[in-house]
């Protein structure tokens, strides 16, 4: 059984369609990278999976359980799904450790000692253990994003969603964040990643899903998709990242 299943998902803002009839499923341990032009609906799709957007049609199943358009106990579902956003969204009034502990302690009501131990281990893994008492404003963009990833991971989610997490970073800081994600992929974490970093997508993905104007246009293995795209739209999209020599 697929860990996450999306069937005929439809999302509209007012009357304008954002996502039309999206269906795909994610197996445990799979890394899916969603690519597509800006405004194609890929971020919205990710937000739908976490219940941050209501959907107008179809359904989303997590572990066989329908999670779409729940209202009352959506927070319980979100405890099983980790999400990292593009904006640096740490809580500015808390230090790194408190940022990470908020979810495990307050949402999951876990034991403090055990949660602190896990937070420390995760920080060590992303190379930020020495920043444990720092406040978000004392960190660089890349460091903040790594803390945000640790904060989501510390909930032990069944699946991680990454919404263009490097899009707002300086080029030099992109790498340190992508390395953390590659490390997670190696450990077999189930992930859905929205990104514009094509080389990273090719390296990390088990499957690429290409979305345009709210539809899945093409999906497949990364090597196939990047070297031999089947649709004209995908070819056109990938061309954007190619430059011909002019001299």
């Amino acid at each position: 059984m697929a860990l996450l299943e999306i069937n005929h998902l439809v999302k509209q803002y007012d009357a304008s369609p954002i996502l039309n009839d999206i269906s795909f499923s994610v197996e445990k341990g799979e890394v899916i990278v969603i690519v597509g032009p800006s405004g194609c609906g890929k971020s919205t799709l990710l937000r739908c999976m976490n219940g941050l957007e209501q959907i107008q049609g179809g359904e989303i199943l997590l572990g066989g359980e329908r999670i779409s358009n729940r209202t009352k106990d959506m927070y319980l579902v979100r405890q099983r799904i980790g999400m990292v956003f593009q904006s640096y969204d740490l809580f500015p009034h808390m230090n790194v450790l408190d940022n990470i502990l908020l979810g495990p302690r307050k949402a999951q009501k876990r034991d403090k000692k055990e949660a602190v131990k896990e937070a420390e281990e995760l920080l060590q893994r992303v190379g930020l253990y020495d920043k444990i008492r720092s406040y978000p404003r004392q960190l660089s963009g890349g460091q903040k994003q790594r803390v945000a990833i640790v904060r989501a991971l510390c909930m032990n989610p069944e699946i991680m969603l990454f919404d263009e997490v490097t899009a707002a970073l300086d080029p030099e800081m992109v790498r340190e964040v992508l390395d953390v994600m590659i490390d997670l992929a190696k450990q077999g974490k189930t992930m859905i990643i929205v990104t514009h970093e094509m080389q990273f997508a090719r390296a990390v993905a088990d499957r690429i899903i290409f979305i345009d104007s709210g539809n899945i246009v093409e999906q497949g293995k990364p090597d196939d998709f990047f070297t031999n795209p089947q649709t004209a739209r995908a070819r056109q999209f990938l061309n954007v990242f190619q430059f011909d020599k002019i001299k």
Partner: protein
Amino acid sequence: MVSSALSDAVAGAFRVLFLGRNFVRLLEGLLVTIRIAAVSVALSLVSGVFFGMLMTVKNKPLHVMCKIYLEFMRIMPQLVLLFLAYFGLTRTFGFHISGETSVLLVFTLWGTAEMGDLVRGALESIPQHQYESGRALGLTERQIFFFIVIPQTVRRLVPLSMNLITRMIKTTSLAVFVGVVEVVKVGQQIIEASRLTVPTASIAIYAVIFFMYFLVCWPLSMAAGYIEKRQKAQEA
């Protein structure tokens, strides 16, 4: 010669403070000022938080009502409100409230409006993605409000409300006009009573009153500055 005459006059003026119970009476007046300010500030802070939260509720009629209340309280001079409460209520409805009660009433209504607007501004300044990050962590809306929104709102609110509090303390001097014997009124009484013995008393009395207000408000300003600085240092 002229300057020494002047300094003699000033020194003579300050003599008035040590006549009878004059200085003690000024202190008693200051206590009345502080009492009025403390009660109305305390009530305003509490009800202002609720008023501010009310203003962020997305409901058109409610929004309009809150806005009218806020603007009315802001546009009307506090003195006019005070006369409305003290004289107006008696004339129109026939029931009389004491000067101090009408001051407390007006200041609380005014303070609620001003504090509410500060709370509204602070609440609205919390970016949407702070709420979404909380949701993504599986927190309930109540937990998000409690652990994420309120602490950040309070931080923004502390320096602003200190400012409002000092403004309210200073404005309590209007209570003179409805016969409340607070520090300014006591000062005036002393000046009147000393007209023949110490004709220059007014300079000394008002100087003392100035320092009294200063001593009450200055620590608040300092505290506001200190808190603001500390927060910046903590987060910077």
